[in-house]
Symmetry: C2
Subunit: 247 residues, 2 copies
DNA sequence: CGACACCTTGAAGAGGTTCAAGAAATGTGG
DNA sequence: CCACATTTCTTGAACCTCTTCAAGGTGTCG
């Protein structure tokens, strides 16, 4: 599995314009006519390329912009004062980062590229100005934020109620579903994050993550070769994630 | 401890107008002049009173409005298909509910009054129309959603990293801090939710919640009389919640 | 090739859950 | 207003899942 854009083009060949971006349906699908769409291009100031490991923004950085992922894969994480770290999400092409910074004008988490990546920088002032002009854009911004809230509530359910196997099954199904929506395989994926980062996201220790992968593998549900995962039995995964209520 | 409004008035005596609402600084502190503020009154269509146990909206209900709490106390909760329930938050006066519904036009959680309550109904179409007219209101809406995202990330950190005592300490400190911001005591509070609901929110079983309360009580940190809690040693609670890193 | 980061596996241990019973508070009806 | 039923909360004991500690294996990159 390679990790090119959905159209297979290399990032460098793509023009810096929302009106000309093959991700627009994922990122800013505002349903504008093409004239309006060109105005929307004003939102994006510039793009930025990052290498694996680069930090896009840090907790405490002043907030100016939202970031739309063109290519690549990110994690966001928060930390408590005593140093405990929690991965709050993994983001891929078409997803928006930085919403946490609006409330206080400072970012509240770290965003780190887990592979080489490119993001569109959208100064939030521009977003607000254009939102006032284009109701469709305004509503889309609201939907993006609402979606993040709904997603977070799902993670709370996972962390508050599920056991290790259920968490990992939910995680894999969610990842592969999002990748599939971007044109990748339904059954194969490459994990861009370490076992430790998975564990942090799912509220389990690295050893438990590893053991659970091994268990799934022994049971013939998935095939694990390091970070290459092949899902052999999607139904079994769904079963684990959401066992038939058999009170 | 009584649970009147901050100004001690009974709800019935208050006019239905944001420009005349003593919660405006909490709820919609948009910094408008008083003429603009009157226009803002158009946002609120009407209020609704609820009795303890009443459901404000349900998972699946079509989304039309946001709700600002005038008085009372709510919980919001999501459920998985197999019936596991997760309380995603407890809301009090001045806080906004319903943001989860924007993305899909359907509410994604249940909102239940934990005591008699009154909410201001804000049709979201109105909010969007007026947001385009008033940049200050627009930005405020964005901040409210961003704050919810940041709060959710904090809960993830709690659920993913903390132990039972830390969770309960964080919970109590958060509750009392929010109540204090509304004019209530820094050290006394009445829990409006059951042990079971606390447990659901914090990812622990009811027995563990009860035992942890007992432990805190034995240690002289809090005084527990059913749902009446008096915090005897705030510093000790903070210590538990955020132990000095002592490598 | 060697150093380092990352991952896996085993065994012992701890924190939280489950099961069970009883106590306290709350609500209901006479 | 009291008696009874019901819900909510507390506590104990056994159990289980996940963590912790430890060691070794695998892969990667200079």
């Amino acid at each position: 599995m390679t990790y090119l854009n959905a159209d297979g083009m290399k990032p460098e060949t793509i023009k810096i314009a929302c009106s000309n971006c093959n991700l627009s349906e994922l990122c800013m699908p505002v349903g504008l006519n093409s004239d309006d769409m060109k105005k929307l291009d004003e939102v994006v100031a510039v793009r930025r390329k990052l290498k694996r490991g680069d930090v896009l923004f840090r907790n405490g950085d002043s907030f100016n912009s939202l970031y739309a992922i063109r290519t690549g894969f990110f994690k966001t994480c928060v930390a408590s004062e005593d140093g405990r770290e929690q991965v709050t999400g993994f983001q891929m092409a078409g997803e928006i980062m930085g919403l946490d910074g609006i409330v206080s004008n400072h970012h509240n988490c770290n965003a780190v590229a887990l592979e080489d990546a490119e993001v569109c920088i959208m100064p939030f002032d521009n977003v607000e100005v254009l939102s006032r002009e284009f109701p469709a854009l305004q509503h889309h911004v609201h939907k993006i934020m609402s979606r993040e809230i709904v997603r977070d509530h799902g993670v709370m359910l996972l962390l508050g109620n599920m056991r290790a196997e259920e968490r990992l099954a939910a995680f894999l199904l969610n990842l592969v579903q999002r990748l599939h929506a971007r044109g990748f395989s339904q059954s194969e994926l490459i994990l861009r994050m370490s076992r430790e980062e998975i564990g942090s996201y799912l509220g389990m220790k690295i050893e438990t993550v590893s053991r659970t992968f091994s268990k799934f593998s022994e049971d013939g549900i998935i095939d694990v070769k390091q970070r290459n995962i092949r899902i052999l039995n999607t139904e079994a995964l769904k079963q684990i994630y959401n066992p038939q209520s058999c009170h």
